[in-house]
Amino acid sequence: MVANVAPPPGRSLHRFANPGRFLRLSAAVLPWLAAAGLSVCAVGLAWGLVFAPRDWQQGDTVRIMYVHVPAAWWAMGGYLALAVASFVSLVWRHPLADVAAVAIAPVGAVFTAVCLATGSLWGRPMWGTWWVWDARLTSVLVLFFLYLGHIALTAAFDEPERAARPAAILALIGAVNLPIIKFSVDWWNTLHQPASVTRFDAPAVHVDILWPLLISGLGFGLAFAAIVLVRMRTVLIERRARAILAARGLEGGGVSRPVPVS
């Protein structure tokens, strides 16, 4: 009788095969990604601050757009990535997907906070108020709390692997908020202006404003990705250290699942 002694895939070293490759690959990519993010951000923001024209109505406050709008794009783009990673983690149990979700949430939360704060600084001179409880602003605030909820849920478990499932479910339920944010300016009355770049027809923004905005947007995206990669590497290394401690039965390991013996 031939007994199948191979451990189930989730328990074998394969669990770390892909993350190992990811650690090597990301180490090679990260310096370039960080340098690109830094320089593209510098170009976009300098262009927006110095060379882009002031708006005929809004004056120089329009320059806030070059930080506010890219932050908003990646606050939402980050949540989309969080939702996709959560789906992959939930359905295929890919070990990197859960790590990506854990890494994305704090970065998304910071970008959302930046979006809210810069929007407030823009709203005060242009709308005459720091804040208004309309659909756009409220739904972005909800996005911020969804990120915080994901962080809190992830931190609430002693064993990080156990948090993956509930956190993924939270992230997927929260994804209904994304179309609400996107279309809130069309569905409800608001002080916030409607979409002017991400429209089905051509953008309604002059190229002198559109170019620095798109470059800032690209720079923010590269920076977002670089920070997420650093955080993914951290999570993987921390989990490997935990696994070592758990396998050796040392404190801090929190062993409650069978340790594979091979």
Binding site: F16, A17, G20, L23, R24, A27, L45, L49, V50, R54, G59, D60, T61, R63, I64, V67, H68, A71, P106, V107, V110, F111, A113, V114, A117, T118, L121, W122, R124, P125, F220, A223, A226, I227, V230, R231, R233, T234, I237, E238, R240, A241, A243, I244, L245, A247, R248, S262
Partner: protein, 64 residues
């Protein structure tokens, strides 16, 4: 130059918006970097003590 700094009278809104953005994202990047460094140091400490997930002797490293 002073005209540039004045931002058409909106300096009190434009500059904080930029400072806040760069400060928040920069701080996040810095904190993330330091967390990675201390995680790496902790793993190196465990591995230097001869500990791996599978036993004391085998020390196949998968990354640097």
């Amino acid at each position: 130059m002073s005209e540039f700094l004045a931002m058409g009278g909106y300096a009190a809104f434009v500059w904080p918006a930029y400072a806040l953005t760069i400060g928040a994202v920069g701080l996040l990047a810095l904190v993330s970097w330091h967390q990675w460094r201390s995680a790496k140091a902790e793993l190196a400490r465990l591995e230097a003590a001869g500990l791996t997930r599978r036993g004391r002797t085998e020390g196949r490293r998968e990354e640097e």
